[in-house]
Point group: C2
Chain length 463, copies 2
Amino acid sequence: MQQRTIRTIALLGAVGLFVVGNTTFAGEATAAGELAHGSAFAATFAWLAILLMAAKISALVERFGQPPVLGELLVGVLLGNMALLGINFFEGAKTNLYLPFLAEFGVVILLFQIGLESNLQKMRHVGVRAFLVASVGVIAPFVLGTYIVGPWLMPGLTSSAYLFLGAALTATSVGITARVFRDLGTSRSPEAQIVLGAAVIDDVMGLVILAIVSAIATIGAVSAGIVTWIFAKAVLFVVGSIVAGIILAPRFGRLFSRIHTGVGMKISLALSFGLVFAYLADLIGLAPIVGAFAAGLVLDPVHFRHFDEPTFVDDVRSALRGIDKATTQKIHAAVDHHADHHVEDLIDKLGLVFVPLFFVMTGMAVKVETLFNMPVLVVALAITVVAFVGKYVAGFVAGPVNKRIVGFGMVPRGEVGLIFAAAGKALGVVNDQVFSVVVIMVIFTTLLTPPILTALIRRQTAI
Amino acid sequence: MQQRTIRTIALLGAVGLFVVGNTTFAGEATAAGELAHGSAFAATFAWLAILLMAAKISALVERFGQPPVLGELLVGVLLGNMALLGINFFEGAKTNLYLPFLAEFGVVILLFQIGLESNLQKMRHVGVRAFLVASVGVIAPFVLGTYIVGPWLMPGLTSSAYLFLGAALTATSVGITARVFRDLGTSRSPEAQIVLGAAVIDDVMGLVILAIVSAIATIGAVSAGIVTWIFAKAVLFVVGSIVAGIILAPRFGRLFSRIHTGVGMKISLALSFGLVFAYLADLIGLAPIVGAFAAGLVLDPVHFRHFDEPTFVDDVRSALRGIDKATTQKIHAAVDHHADHHVEDLIDKLGLVFVPLFFVMTGMAVKVETLFNMPVLVVALAITVVAFVGKYVAGFVAGPVNKRIVGFGMVPRGEVGLIFAAAGKALGVVNDQVFSVVVIMVIFTTLLTPPILTALIRRQTAI
């Protein structure tokens, strides 16, 4: 009986979805609606609701021991490729103006959260190892792709094409790995810290490589001065932002608590810090998520000690008045943890909405039809193996930790690999075949990493 | 010494702001940045941070007994008109692509929150009175504006121009009033419920009026059939969405709790409900906020009883194990409230970020230079008096409540009045003078209502 109720509702929902879909999200806009851009906004509201619920329904993958992020990616792949089955409804989400921004906001929030959970002290401990992992993880796939596997599997291309293929293999898209660590509650593990640190260093190296290969492709050569300048700028940003953050965060905390100590100020101050760093990273040519991560890294609960505690903490504490000391201490211990992590908790609520959107949208960008060309698929699978091997060996220099977790943690290429391939295509040196190969490699590294990493982490924590 | 530190930091911040400003938020985008639309996104991150912090700094108005919303509006007016002082930096926020969407998202969240805090039962009690208030509040300013004060103060215009002036005077922009009630913790008062109910009915009437005056302006007449159809459609939506919500909300709650009971599902389900209703309202030609409010109205904590409670509640409850019953009950009472209002609390966190953005952006849209034309200003002030009087008299039919709170609560015209004026301008029947008059009327009704309402509510609660 209850089963039937559920099926009825599911059917109703599906029907509703298609009724809504067939109205094409334009509706019969009134003059008022048009003037206020009402309909474009309202369509985005509807998409947000649909993609959010799709993401949450995809959490069913957890029943099969898979991390939620895999479910979100897969549901994205599914919705994004419904057009192949003749259902064009979801194409609207791809052309929506605001969703890509909201998704990017989501991944910035995610890296900011991870930064908040990470500890600068601990990060410094793994600094050298993260640098080694990043270096090997950049050099190995680059050399393999550009000079060995690329020319071997796809002979006859220009040397610039091989360069871009190799470059596309270097970058790590840390979002996916970070999410897996987070889903499993191991963001603070040494493995996670090494991967996160290496991914930031990686991004700096990737930026330099992209500049170099672009210069070689366009002018055939590149001056050492330009390379040095790009490199210096990127390093300066990362180091400078951390130093500036350490100096400014406590002062800003004190300053703004004089204006207002409410929860609104608390979340605004923390979020603004993350957003400004994301902006500055972009300004210097780095990914905004690098800035958001750096901001999270320097922010500490102690910077928010001048602000109000969460209301439930107040309520519980005042309920404790007149109660014996032993009980009070026990309850205080239970609420203190929440009071300390209040800022993380506030940012978390934003993340609940916008982070899944990023992964669903990432999945939607996957073009399943690229898998249908057999020769391309075979080459792509070989390049995917290179992509895995190149990062896997990087794990060997990670020191006394679980090397396989570090290695596989570096594997996802995500949108960063695509950016490299797209840059090459824009310069006219990457042909359609190489582009497709990179896209398929990105799909596989993105979709296969979460289950592999989950299995490895579970096995480790089980020991 | 500490004072000096603060001044130094404030100075540093101001310098930083202008350094950032002079880089024009475009930065030296790399190929990667451009391809990923990195810079446009990153600029929005920076604006979000700047406007959010501006909003929070404006909370200083609370020291003068004013509601935060007034501070946000005023800081918006200030930033939006800095160009008059030769500082063009903040103009960038006006042309930003994503901020208007985020602001609209904010006001949708706000009305959804207010809906969640409102009670359908209680709303039904005030239904008849809300209808009376809405009717008088639409008829009085429309008649005054169209047939008396309009022709008297601005003689020689077409009858269509007067019609649009009158129509622009009818709509209530409930966001501002709702925010004041919320700031003062009186959203659940009978006055607030009447104003909210009347504002929803008002929106339906406004929609019908806009359709009628548009038809008269373009074709010189309007068929009774069209008017009836628009009216029926709008009424059907409001009634239908409430009925559908009552039927679907508990079923959806049960259905989705079978997939996942986590906090992510809880917030996604609630938010999606609000967003879908906002979309549907827009589809029918109503403001999205009307839909969001209706969604909030039908959602009830009980629909989320199948989902997990907040973690702090779990933690406190498990800390209570083995502690005597009297203590346990006392602490449970303190945490139960938070457990019950968990959904509201989750949506609240989103509101903390996006709601202030709406009010700052509303303030930024105010063109202070419209106040500089003396003859227009005089007429506008008279029309503003009409705008106040027309809604104030509506309060008289509100029954045994504080009539003045209801009357003034209906006064703000906000963006709704502007939409009417813009629609008339688009049709070529509203000239620049009438348009300016409406803009100034909107400025005054928007900026003067929060302090007046705050004073009235404080006086009432003091008794």
